[in-house]
Symmetry: C2
Subunit: 159 residues, 2 copies
């Protein structure tokens, strides 16, 4: 493939979508939930939104990514989120990264790293299993802002 | 700890619970879904049931384990499935094994191995991350019966 064609195909993560995810994380913060937010983007449009609401719903599936992907699946009328990009403020855990793989999510863009549960390469990787679907990965977009909000949340909790 | 105390504490997976999961897998088969079934057990009682219904619901979360864990969370009124055991006919994928970890599921008992997506040690392991919750694992209960049902499903599909 000629260089220009490759260049044309390369995906460039967009800050405004991570800013939208951060806004959802702020909503989670205000609701007393661990502040994580996510959006699903297709063809330059947000088609799914989610934020952490695990405690309010007492549902282990209440992570931001699951809500955003479920919302996107509703928008598209199919569980296959092909050609979609997941933007999320925190590196997805195995549950969420696994859901993205199962949904054939084309790309994952995350902000802050998760040392404990990060399943896009930090604690483990579930997005490059030899015989399974492999989303492309983009790390560290607005990482500082995403991490700062989480730190603020856990510092308040400790008081 | 004295030997007897340890022996007393060891969990012995029960066939009848895997048989209940297999019955749910048969229901999935009859509905044209990949035949996987699951139950969640606490104190010797089934408190959650699920079977694959991804195509019917067009929901990527439609795996048997997710349904069984959601059902169990509803029964208990909390997302924390402590002291519970997940019985499932097929080795959980990263999404489902990750959900079990997030839910603090005490034990996972599976039937057939999954070479492609198995996230309890076959394709990857997400249940023994150094700093995360670690469910105990029991493999291969009624493995032949569980695998035979899956083979029958995929052979029919190929015709």
């Amino acid at each position: 493939m000629p260089y220009n064609a490759m260049k044309h195909r390369a995906y460039v993560p967009e800050k405004n979508f991570m800013e939208a995810a951060l806004q959802l994380a702020e909503e989670a913060f205000a609701a007393g939930e661990v502040p994580v937010g996510a959006v699903v983007v297709k063809d330059g449009q947000i088609i799914g939104r989610g934020r952490n609401r695990r405690e309010a719903e007492q549902n282990v599936l209440g992570h931001a990514e699951i809500e955003a992907m479920t919302d996107a699946a509703r928008t598209l009328g199919t569980w296959r989120l092909e050609n979609c990009t997941l933007y999320v403020t925190l590196e997805p855990c195995p549950m969420c990264a696994g859901t993205a793989v199962n949904a054939h999510m084309a790309r994952i863009v995350y902000g802050a790293e998760d040392d404990v549960m990060g399943a896009c390469g930090t604690a483990v990787s579930v997005i490059d299993l030899p015989r399974a679907f492999k989303p492309e990965l983009y790390r560290g977009l607005l990482a500082e802002e995403c991490a700062a909000l989480l730190r603020k949340f856990f510092e308040q909790r400790r008081k």
